[in-house]
């Protein structure tokens, strides 16, 4: 595997960086942009990631139109925040009625237009408009996109095809793509966007991963799915590859773990060109840091780390004590993929059984090793593990819906429903129902779940509930378990939601957005959990202690800007062994 050099990029106009949140997409994209601009190319970097930290990296405020970046000749940047685009779409619809419609009506419109669909459509729209605007594109030698996290990106990119099918086959005007109504005239624009993406002469997809199994698997999936859509010009960049220069325990473990993960690359990526970028001992902000990323010699010159007092935060064991005092309740971990939600949930479950509680642990991660906590010394009789498979739940939900309403409906009515069941909201609803059932089963025990519903889903549920109270005639099929769950989730005595994050820019921003969304539904996360902290390991390795120092900024940020209570978990070599070690931390 070669170290990534800037020459590896010069042959394509459009570069798309994709990967899970926190793998360093923005850093890799920014470093590439700066280096290309330094070579005299005219470069535009565009962020479409709602959790983008492009502005922090460049240390400047960006608009949604291309503007020169002060300090780097030939470099331009634009920040297309899809949430902002969605908000302006919302306002365009709602604003004219601020004075004529009652507040209740405006609020209910606002919520319906706050779903994931609206944000996605707004994002794709922004992005297509830019990509197909020849006045802009012809001006630049390279346009780089630091796209949104993988799952989101995939849906985004898959949408045009879905839309094409939808627009062609749907003659009833029924649409779950509500905000899409009236966008049929944009079909040509989206078509053109997909064509540009699939043109290997012009477009290259840069899959970004870390040297760990979960981000590599995720990138592998993205590679495959995007290849299916026709985007075949792909390369892999493994970011944060560590070469140890000390015999520090954490350094030895990290290097071993990374080397093992790197072995699996051919299995996921075949013969795709693969490059790596080094793990650097500092936050990648500012132009010098970005330029150094492509300079193999820069790593040799590690700056002296200033002596600082370590930040003292409670351990996960203290959080479990806090929880244990409540005797029973629902504990949920919430966070984006890759932050360790499942591991933390498993550790909390084991910790609660150690304290003598009965616990039902439920996971939605099909690959979870949660069974390991079953071995917990005292946990054998107290702990039950169950699984929710999101795919199966969606199928079950669809079947149930069709069975429930199928009998009295004509074929045409069924067609209506089937069309609407293809909506992206369906999965969230289906999973929510499944875990409502789980929670309902365990009334006098702790229920620990490695996922939580978003605020948006909760608000929609709330609306559905009041609708049923008032309008008995049109009673739907909201199960009793779902009705009872909502008040429980709102009650801080019964429900503890913890946000899991890593001590880095993107994961912290992403968790912050999840918190905002929960607050809209009047739910306040009880704890923030900072997972995988080098700072907490006390490492003395030169690079890792640099990372540990860089983490301070984000640990502080969580404490000062986001959380009420924060606990911290030291970096663990891998999930399985990590869980073993977590068991020693939970006592």
């Amino acid at each position: 595997m070669k170290q990534l050099m800037i020459g590896d990029f010069v042959d394509t106009n459009y570069l798309f960086f994709t990967g899970k949140g926190g793998v360093g997409k923005t850093s890799a994209a920014c470093a590439t942009a700066v280096s290309l601009a330094d070579q005299g190319k005219k470069v535009l970097i565009v962020s479409t990631d709602p959790a983008s930290n492009l502005q922090d990296v460049f240390g400047t405020t960006l608009a949604n139109k291309p503007a020169p970046v002060p300090g780097v000749k030939n470099l331009y940047a634009a920040n297309l925040d899809p949430e902002e685009a969605a908000a302006s779409y919302r306002n365009k619809i709602i604003d004219p009625y601020r004075n004529t419609l009652p507040k209740a009506a405006l609020d209910s419109m606002e919520e319906q237009l706050s779903g994931a669909c609206t944000v996605e459509i707004a994002a794709f729209d922004e992005f297509s408009t830019l990509l197909t605007d020849e006045d802009t594109t012809s001006e630049f030698d390279h346009i780089l996109f630091d796209t949104a996290p993988t799952g989101h990106t995939l849906r985004l990119l898959q949408l045009p095809n879905a839309w094409s099918d939808f627009l062609e086959t749907n003659d009833n005007g029924v649409s779950c793509l509500g905000p899409l109504a009236g966008l049929a005239d944009k079909k040509a624009l989206y078509q053109k966007t997909v064509e540009a993406l699939a043109n290997p002469e012009r477009t290259k997809l840069v899959l970004v991963a870390r040297p760990d199994d979960s981000t590599l698997i995720e990138a592998g999936k993205a590679a495959e799915e995007l290849e299916e859509i026709g985007i075949r010009n792909q390369m892999l960049v493994v970011n944060g590859v560590f070469e140890r220069s000390s015999d520090d325990q954490t350094a030895i473990q990290l290097e071993a773990m990374q080397q093992e993960a790197l072995q699996s690359i051919p299995a996921y990526f075949g013969d795709k060109p693969t490059y790596h970028l080094p793990l650097v001992p500092y936050n990648l902000t500012g132009f010098q840091a970005l330029r150094d990323l492509f300079d193999p010699e820069a790593l040799e010159m590690i700056e002296e780390i200033p002596e600082t007092e370590p930040i003292k935060l409670p351990s996960i064991s203290e959080m479990i004590d806090d929880l244990s005092a409540k005797k029973q309740g629902v504990f949920m971990t919430m966070g984006k993929g890759g932050v360790g939600k499942t591991t933390v949930a498993a550790a909390v479950a084991a910790g609660l059984t150690d304290r003598g509680h009965r616990v039902l642990l439920t996971t939605t991660d099909p690959a979870a090793h949660v069974d390991l906590v079953m071995d917990s010394d005292s946990g054998d009789n107290l702990l039950t593990v169950s699984r929710i498979d999101p795919k199966k739940e969606v199928e079950k939900y669809k079947a149930q819906v069709l069975e429930n309403v199928g009998e009295d409906l004509t074929e045409e009515e069924l067609a209506y429903i089937k069309e609407d069941l293809e909506s992206p909201c369906t999965e969230e609803i289906a999973v929510f129902r499944a875990f409502a059932e789980t929670v309902d089963q365990a009334k006098d025990a702790f229920v620990v779940i490695d996922t939580a519903p978003t605020g948006h889903t909760l608000l929609l549920l709330d609306a559905a509930q009041s609708y049923h109270r008032e309008v008995e005639r049109t009673q739907g099929d909201l199960p009793e378990s779902v009705k009872q769950l909502l008040p429980r989730l709102r009650n801080p005595e019964e429900t503890f939601i913890s946000l899991v994050t890593l001590p880095e820019a993107t994961p912290v921003y992403e968790a912050g957005r999840l918190q905002e969304d929960l607050r809209r539904a009047q739910i306040e996360p009880a704890w923030w959990i900072i997972n995988q902290s080098y700072h907490e390991t006390g490492t003395t390795d030169p690079i890792l202690s640099g990372r540990a120092h860089a983490e301070r900024k984000w640990i502080r940020e969580v404490q000062e800007s986001y959380s009420r209570k924060t606990c911290i978990i030291p970096w663990q070599a891998d999930k399985v062994k990590g869980l073993e070690r977590l068991k020693t931390l939970i006592k």
């Binding site: 009506a105 779903g115 029924v174 045409e412 889903t457 609306a463 609708y467 739907g476």
Partner: protein, 123 residues
């Protein structure tokens, strides 16, 4: 006879309601009923508060209803612009009597969905 029936839906994600939090069979029934009536040439409109707020704001009775009873009072039904009732969708019989169609005839139409019906009226 009534010339125009308007249904003011609550803010819905989609007209059948299945991508919402539960499935309400009433919604799928009314979606179909309206589409059959439209294909027969009758003027029946459904407005979704989330997507078409304009008709809500121009009907003062509907505005007043939402002001007093909140959005929970929706759906609301207006015949020739006049608010007739709220809290439920119209029945087949109500539509039949409004448009002066034989009840059974309308039910028959609902049972056998044809692909397209182009009925034009010469005035």
């Amino acid at each position: 006879m009534i010339k125009k029936v308007e249904i003011f839906d609550p803010a819905l994600c989609c007209p059948t309601g299945v991508c919402g939090t539960d499935v309400n069979p009433e919604l799928t029934k009314i979606a179909r009923l309206v589409s059959v009536l439209n294909s027969m040439g009758y003027d029946v409109k459904r407005y979704n508060l989330a997507q078409e707020p304009m008709p809500f704001s121009t009907n003062s009775e509907v505005v007043k209803l939402m002001e007093n009873d909140g959005v929970e009072s929706l759906p609301a039904v207006a015949a020739d612009g006049k608010l007739t009732f709220s809290g439920r969708y119209p029945t087949v019989s109500e539509f039949a009597s409004w448009f002066d169609i034989e009840d059974d005839k309308l039910r028959e139409k609902l049972k056998t969905p044809k692909k397209t019906l182009n009925i034009s009226f010469n005035k």
